[in-house]
């Protein structure tokens, strides 16, 4: 266990050496937040005040929370593992006495822990100043929200890890990566809340782990769901976590036997 803690710590330190990158990332997140918020707000005012149960300030809160969580949750993904398979450096990872998935996950948690401050806070501050935020006043949603964010972070990591692991079988994963990114962006509720989808698409989205990766923590943190529903949603997250974890472990097990480590 201590190995994973050390890995998470080292990843936090590694990321903290690139502070300028973090702040320029936060700037970008905030600018895109402004664009997205103004689009949604004009749509809501055209629709006459609410869309799908979202008032103007609630929609703005949804946008800003999404922008704030975007980087910490790692929704852009990392193709590091696939790159290491390509270069053959995977040989080093596999010669270490740690679980492959867990060691990458620990490093992702360390990265997320660093990203929270420089990339999570600025969009929220700007949101509060520009559009105002509608946030809960009791502690419950924040506590459960924290758990949900941790689960979402792990789900987001595992989803991308599955795509990375495809590199054990195929040489080039770019096609799968693009497809995954498009699906995830849409179905996670990053572009618009999933409840705005037509019914058939909402049903489809709910049959995937994607809403658990963003929509769920955003809804819980914004206080849109009451205690019982929030708990149920976290339960769904944990269910997906078990499914994806089993999937990645199977893939690592069979994939590493299939893997041909490149290079001398």
């Amino acid at each position: 266990m201590r190995a994973y803690w050390e890995l998470a710590k080292s990843s936090f330190r590694r990321n903290s050496t690139y502070r300028l990158a973090a702040f320029s990332g936060a700037f970008t997140n905030s600018v895109f937040g402004l664009i997205r918020a103004s689009l949604l707000l004009s749509a809501i005012s055209t629709a006459g005040g609410t869309i799908g149960g979202y008032s103007a300030v609630e929609a703005a809160t949804y946008v800003w929370l999404g922008q704030a969580l975007l980087a910490p949750l790692g929704l852009f993904g990392s193709a590091e593992l696939a790159g290491r398979v390509k270069s053959g450096d995977i040989a080093v990872d596999l010669s270490r006495s740690v679980n492959l998935t867990a060691s990458y996950w620990a490093q992702d948690v360390g990265r997320a822990a660093f990203d929270i401050l420089p990339r999570g806070v600025p969009p929220l501050v700007i949101g509060a100043l520009v559009t105002g935020l509608s946030l809960p006043t009791t502690a419950g949603p924040y506590v459960l929200g924290f758990v949900s964010v941790l689960a979402a972070l792990t789900l987001s990591f595992l989803g991308f890890f599955v795509i990375n692991l495809l590199s054990f079988w195929v040489v080039e994963i770019r096609g799968y990566w693009m497809l995954y990114l498009v699906l995830m962006n849409l179905l996670s509720g990053f572009l618009v809340p999933v409840t705005w989808f037509p019914q058939w698409m909402l049903d489809f989205a709910r049959a995937t782990p994607f809403p658990s990766m963003l929509q769920t923590p955003v809804d819980i943190l914004a206080g849109r769901t009451d205690g019982a529903l929030s708990l149920a949603l976290v339960g769904v997250q944990l269910l997906w976590l078990a499914v994806l974890l089993a999937g990645t472990q199977l893939m690592v097990r069979y994939g590493s036997r299939k893997l041909v480590v490149q290079g001398g």
């Binding site: 201590r2 190995a3 803690w5 050390e6 890995l7 080292s10 330190r13 590694r14 050496t17 053959g88 450096d89 995977i90 040989a91 080093v92 596999l94 010669s95 270490r96 006495s97 740690v98 679980n99 590493s256 036997r257 893997l259 041909v260 480590v261 290079g263 001398g264």
Partner: protein, 327 residues
């Protein structure tokens, strides 16, 4: 017994573009390459074994199978009493691996920051790995650059760090794949000294692949020579040295062109060929039969010599010779 390999084989399927013209080119073919063929050998505790062979001979493939990152096509292998593939993580705590072309250090962290992570990975308490780290840092003279990010280290500095990282958990077996590649003489020597000390002091078993004969001479009493996936020679270094001495090459430049046939060579010398329109001649000779001085005297008697150089056999030559003599 540290390593037991029995009839170990690995083949790969290599995709190839179709041969021929027109549509035939679009048809993709596949070819099977036998990288390692039925290799059997054992290594005892405390041995230092040089695993040598030309590029593509199957050295790295064997090492990957020994460390459990590549599944053998057939055959059996046990390392430190474990089966490498199914027990890969347990094995990783017993062996140290250095890949000369890759890094196991965290490249954007200061060098010293990699060691607490490695210590934790090997499940060792700080009271155990810390003194060992200090000992290694002193032996390898890592002190001056412990605070430097790995990415900013020179190759020689990084390799010393890599070897220290591989030795941190006092492994029973250290496998080194081209540890001295690209290093200058001084860095090579300090690395070899540390590895030799490690073996003498702790009885650590060493298995290294290399292209550098002096690595083998300095570190190994036993050599395994692989050629085309099979073992061509397994024996003490002295046996290899005999073969090595069997073929030195003298390259002679004459003042004026000379046809090869005009050279009168003493017994034990063979004319290999002429270059530069008969100015430069290559002559192989067996030093047990003929000294370099005697050969030079014989050559000088034929024509005026402008320049000369002597070449020791490289590993590729050696392997070729071992292989032909084995058949």
């Amino acid at each position: 017994m540290i390593i037991e390999a029995e009839q170990l084989s690995r083949s790969f399927t290599v995709a190839e573009r179709g041969m021929g013209r027109g549509w035939a080119r679009l048809r993709r073919g596949a070819r099977t390459v036998h990288a390692v063929r039925e290799v059997s050998f054992t290594v005892e505790q405390g041995e230092a074994v040089g695993y040598i062979g030309a590029n593509g001979a199957g050295k790295s493939t064997t090492i990957k199978m020994l460390t459990g990152i590549l599944v053998p096509s057939s055959g059996q292998v046990r390392v430190c009493g474990l089966q490498p593939v199914p027990q890969r993580q347990a094995l990783a705590r017993k062996i140290g691996v250095v890949f000369g072309q890759r890094s196991q250090l965290w490249w954007d962290l200061p060098l010293e920051d990699s060691f607490p992570i490695l210590g934790a990975m090997h499940r060792q308490p700080e009271s155990r790995w810390r003194p060992r780290f200090q000992e290694l840092a002193e032996q390898m003279a890592l002190g001056p650059f412990l605070g430097t990010p790995v990415r900013q280290l020179s190759l020689g500095q990084r390799m010393r760090g890599e070897v220290a990282a591989a030795l941190l958990h006092r492994p029973e077996l250290v496998i080194l794949d081209e540890p001295t590649i690209g290093l200058d003489m001084i860095s090579k020597e300090s690395l070899r000294r540390c590895l030799d000390f490690e073996r003498r002091e702790h009885g650590t078993t060493l298995l290294l692949t290399t292209h550098d004969m002096s690595d083998v001479q300095r570190l190994c009493q036993r050599v395994l020579v692989v050629d085309d996936g099979a073992i061509a020679f397994d024996g003490p270094l002295t046996g290899l040295a005999e073969v090595a001495e069997a073929r030195r090459t003298m390259v002679v430049d004459f003042s004026s062109p000379l046809p090869g046939a005009a050279l009168v060579l003493p017994p034990g010398a063979v004319h290999l060929g002429a270059e530069a329109e008969g100015i430069r001649h290559r002559i192989a000779f067996d030093p047990r039969q003929l000294s370099a001085a005697a050969l030079l005297a014989a050559v000088t008697a034929t024509a005026e010599v402008a320049d000369l150089s002597l070449h020791e056999p490289d590993i590729e030559d050696l392997v070729r010779q071992l292989y032909t003599s084995a058949r």
